[in-house]
């Protein structure tokens, strides 16, 4: 049977508008509503994780000053902060949030290919969040094993939350992965099958490319986490020994024998390293689109950018053991993984060059989304370069397990993607809500967040050089730590509190603008991508009214010579353009 694309069958498909409040906003199958559900839930748990980080910084900055921070609760804060931020905030927000919102709109589709499964994906995600949050309140509390959950310590006496906390953590992860898989299959299928006419793969905006590749990484990587979570659950509950060797606890022999703690680390990082790019690639894509739109200039080297996304995605599966240089694995692995890790720096560097070259000879409008996008380039350069220290196996020896690692991954995987998240929220706020945010408050939010986070993490690298270990409840007197290092810790804590409080400006801006912001123009930035060309603003269910759009050009026709406007939307036919049309926008 001949294949007929979904776009070509659009007129045969009946479109039902949801009728009731419940089907419209609660059990909604509309990708835009699901995106906002995902986004709000992720931001909600993200705020909890932010509060947890403030608590741990209080202990580090002012040791022994707060009776509610014990070693137990400290390690619980550390663990839950990390896990929530990486999985339940960033992964969920970029893919479940932005992926859901942008893919159908940018591809010119009416919705995800499987709307019902898309709805289930959100509700299962919410279930995983609820299970996670319950673990704070069970006897013994949440797990304090560190977000990496390394066995034996994650399920052995001496660690908080080995009663129920760890079980709920592992169960929540398994449920999250189910949710992610339902969403992820949808995103991939929609990108491949439901693009509108004329939307070839090489005309896709980079946001879609980034989210698409990240989703593929997730579909391949999360199963490794799933099996490790299940095996650890078995080790914990029915005393199997997948990861548990024979060991002593408080002088008594435990019943485990023969398991391998290092095996867990391989499985974990086989997931964990692609996870970095599951967060980074959507950020790469989104930031490319924001830069291009607000610089009024095509993204520089589009094809190179697409290939770099694919190359980074592929390479991300063969670098995982650079997290394990000092884990006790066979040391000869170091040669291989250091080499692959430094190779991945090349396509990543090219992306940075291309962002900066996009600004070159542009017409740069420094609106709030652009400020965040350029701020991202700065922090990402910083975090990427410190990654080269840790990727180079001998340099990792002194720095591994120190604050240098903490500073590095917060710079590259915390601050950088979060700046993109903010930039993206400001950028698409007019589309999602039909309202305009307050520009002044947005700028204040940027400046305070940007400087604040840098003043947290730049000095933190130097604690790492000094050799200060991470995951220490308190330093006490450590002979190589001068008193000034403790003062530095205090100042980092003050910066962290400052940044946390600053986020109230963002929340205030969002809430007030949503209620009483000015009505926004349907395409306030003059963007060329399809989501700005919808007949309604915000787009209604089905996105496109009676007729699907048809695409005639790439996503970056900005400032085309001879054309009166400084942008040409993707759905404008070539004939409407004065001089010779540029199909792919690429000179041949």
């Amino acid at each position: 049977m001949a294949y007929v694309s979904i776009a070509d069958r659009d007129h045969e498909i009946e479109h039902h508008d949801p009728q009731t409040f419940i089907t419209k906003y609660i059990w909604s199958q509309d990708h835009k509503v699901i995106a906002i559900q995902y986004g709000l839930t992720a931001i909600f748990v993200g705020l909890i994780a932010l509060a947890l980080s403030v608590m741990m910084r209080l202990q580090l900055g002012f040791p022994d000053s707060f009776s509610f921070i014990t070693p137990e609760s400290y390690y619980q804060f550390v663990t839950m902060h990390g896990m929530i931020m990486v999985i339940y905030l960033l992964t969920a927000l970029f893919l479940g949030g932005f992926g859901n919102y942008l893919i159908p709109l940018m591809c010119g589709s009416r919705d995800m290919v499987f709307p019902y499964m898309n709805m289930l994906s959100y509700w299962v995600y919410l279930l995983s969040v609820i299970i996670l949050l319950i673990s704070f309140f069970v006897p013994g509390g949440a797990t304090g094993a560190g977000w990496t959950l390394y066995p034996p310590q994650a399920i052995a006496p001496g660690t908080p939350g080995i009663e129920l906390g760890i079980i709920l953590m592992l169960a929540s992860l398994a449920v999250f992965i189910v949710a992610f898989t339902m969403g992820g299959l949808n995103y991939v299928t929609t990108v491949l099958q439901a693009r509108c006419r004329g939307m070839t793969l090489m005309r896709l905006p980079l946001s879609v490319w980034g989210i698409f590749m990240a989703t593929i990484l997730g579909l391949l990587a999360f199963p490794a986490l799933l099996v490790s979570a299940i095996m650890m659950l078995l080790d914990k509950t029915i005393l199997t020994s997948f990861f548990m060797p024979a060991m002593i606890s408080a002088g008594e022999q435990l019943s485990h024998t023969g398991g391998s703690p290092v095996l867990f680390q391989h499985l974990f990082w086989f997931f964990g390293h692609p996870e970095v790019y599951i967060v980074a690639l959507p950020a790469f894509g989104i930031v490319s689109d924001i830069l291009s739109t607000h610089a009024r200039k095509n993204i520089f080297g589009y094809r190179m950018m697409v290939w770099a996304i694919l190359a980074i995605g592929g390479l991300s599966f063969i670098v995982w053991a650079h997290h394990m240089y000092v884990s006790g694995m066979n040391p000869y692995f170091g040669f291989f993984f250091a080499t692959t890790t430094l190779i991945i720096a090349v396509p990543t560097a090219l992306k940075v060059y291309n962002w900066v070259l996009t600004l070159w000879q542009g017409n740069i409008h420094l609106r709030v989304p652009m400020l965040f996008a350029i701020g991202f380039i700065f922090t990402f350069i910083h975090g990427g370069l410190t990654g080269i220290f840790l990727g180079n196996v001998v340099v990792d020896l002194p720095l591994s397990d120190t604050y240098f690692v903490v500073a590095h991954f917060h710079m590259v995987m915390g601050v950088s993607p979060v700046l993109v998240v903010f930039g993206a929220i400001y950028h698409w706020f007019p589309k999602m809500t039909g309202k305009m945010y307050n520009e002044t408050l947005g700028k204040w939010h940027f400046w305070m967040t940007f400087f604040g986070t840098y003043s947290i993490y730049l000095p933190m690298h130097y604690l790492g050089f000094l050799g200060v270990p991470r995951r220490y409840f308190s330093m006490g007197t450590t002979d190589f730590m001068p008193e000034s290092a403790h003062t530095l810790n205090t100042s980092i804590t003050i910066s962290a509190i400052f940044v946390a409080v600053t986020q109230l400006i963002f929340l205030y801006n969002m809430i007030v603008s949503l209620r009483s912001g000015k009505k926004s123009d349907p395409n306030p930035w003059g963007a060329a991508t399809l989501e700005w060309q919808t007949p309604d603003n915000p787009p209604k269910h089905g996105n496109w009214g009676h007729h699907l759009p048809e695409v005639h050009r790439w996503a970056y026709d900005y400032s085309v010579p001879g054309y009166p406007d400084d942008f040409i939307p993707q759905n404008v036919p070539a004939s409407a353009e004065a001089p010779a049309g540029r199909d792919h926008g690429i000179h041949h």
Partner: protein
């Protein structure tokens, strides 16, 4: 425009911070100067990229910021430029990777003349084993580990008889001799890390890992566990002392071989009874303790703990500070027990004394104390019974006013601050986390209820 200025300020500020920072690598005390060289190369390459790309970006923002009537250039691709950037980046990456791999090859291959020392990790202590005169380690097996055989030595292995067992968190190594540390863990993951040596490696239960170094500077270096190992992770500290060869040899000789530990005679309670007369003056005829004389109860306390504390008094780890007058009265008493045998005899006698719970004298809110005790229980046991493997003495049923005093001493740094009192330092960490006297009383009140 402010953004471009901000970027320039951040670049310049980062450079100033880097060059002015008092927080930087510790002075190297091992042969791994090549690691430092690789770091320097990495700094130059990455530093150049950081400055160049960011300043270029700032320049672009200034030059091409939106102006009335301005229009951007239309310039989708520039294959030549992209190739040049690819090649230059690859060269820069290779310049960092190549020396790195070269040095790593040295780290992986241990020199043939390296001496071997085994470092053992457990929650939250270090101990060590040396191969003895035959230069070979005897078999060990985790299944054989007991309180009396903390290393899990195989009694039938002749190679193990002369192994030297160091039950202290402090290890010595000889200067300018390559040392290979064989790393083993009894329970969870740990990590052997000394900042001044640069190298580190995890300890993994069920397998043996290693690292090697040649110490180049005499001194005492703090050993830290750097792999999260539970709530006591931050207290898992030790020391590596770099000695001249002769001092190292003397240090080795000061520890018993496995055979010697097996042959050590049990104490003689009858002989000890006579010596105990001195103790009885304060601690009471039955070791029940006397508050009026500030003497704690001894009866029922475990032998290993009594022995370690008598040694601490003898060696100045306790009772040597002017702000510890009570400890100072005990120190000379401890020194009257001149030999190990004498100590063992007295303790053997104390073990025969009736163990009646001491009367409660401290009052506090038990429920508050119960919450705090959750942390204590990790080492001292849920019933406060004490756990030898955790180096944690019995608390329940002992004199409570003494317990409260000692917690305050730990908190105030009167006890646990001596540089070689590693176990005391751990307790200091815990005591300092307690907020005030009321918290101490609440805790002790709960321990009274156990």
């Amino acid at each position: 425009m402010p953004l471009a200025v901000a970027l320039i300020v951040l670049v310049v500020g980062s450079l100033i911070f880097h060059f002015m920072s008092p927080w930087y690598f510790t002075d190297l005390a091992s042969n791994w100067s090549q690691i430092d060289t690789t770091i320097d190369i990495t700094f130059w390459v990455t530093g150049f990229v950081f400055v160049a790309v960011n300043l270029f970006m700032a320049y672009a923002i200034i030059k091409y910021r939106n102006k009335d009537g301005a229009k951007a250039d239309y310039d989708p691709e520039n294959a030549k430029l992209e190739w040049i950037l690819t090649v230059v980046t690859t060269i820069g990456v290779a310049a960092m990777l190549a020396p790195g791999l070269f040095v790593w090859a040295k780290f992986v291959n241990v020199p043939d003349d390296a001496i071997e020392i085994e470092a053992n990790g457990q929650q939250w202590h270090w101990s060590y084993r040396l191969p003895g005169d035959d230069g070979q380690f005897g078999n060990v097996n985790g299944k054989l580990i007991t309180n009396d055989n903390p290393f899990g030595m195989d009694a039938d292995d002749p190679l193990g008889q002369d192994d030297v067992l160091v039950t202290s968190p402090e290890v010595h190594i000889p200067i300018n001799v390559p040392v290979k540390f064989n790393l083993r863990s009894k329970d969870v993951l740990h990590d052997f890390a000394v900042a001044q040596f640069r190298v580190k490696m995890d300890l993994v239960p069920g397998m043996e890992t290693y690292l090697w170094l040649t110490p180049t500077k005499l001194g005492t270096y703090e050993l830290l566990c750097e792999e999260l190992c539970g709530i006591g992770h931050h207290t898992m500290r030790g020391a590596v002392v770099v000695d001249e060869q002769a001092d190292f040899d003397a240090w080795v000789d000061s520890y018993p071989t496995y055979a010697e530990t097996q042959a050590a005679a049990a104490g003689n309670a009858a002989v000890g009874a006579a010596q105990y007369a001195v103790c009885a003056a304060c601690h009471g005829q039955n070791g029940e303790g006397q508050k009026a004389l500030n003497a704690p109860k001894l009866a029922g306390q475990s032998a290993w703990y009594l022995k370690s504390q008598i040694k601490n008094y003898q060696n100045g780890l306790r009772g040597a500070r002017d702000d510890d007058p009570l400890g100072k009265t005990m120190a000379p008493m401890a020194r009257t027990l001149a030999t190990d045998a004498a100590i063992n005899n007295v303790i053997a006698h104390i073990q025969t004394l009736p163990d009646n719970p001491a009367p409660s004298t401290v009052t506090g809110v038990e429920s508050n104390g119960a919450k705090m005790y959750a942390i204590c229980a990790y080492c001292h046991g849920k019933e406060g019974q004490g756990i030898q493997a955790m180096n944690a003495p019995r608390l329940a049923g002992m004199t409570d006013w003494y317990l409260a005093n000692q917690i305050k001493n730990f908190k105030a740094g009167i006890r646990g601050e001596h540089p070689t009192d590693y176990y005391g330092k751990q307790m200091g960490f815990m005591a300092k986390a307690m907020q005030d006297e009321q918290a101490v009383n609440d805790l002790v009140a709960y321990i009274n209820s156990l």
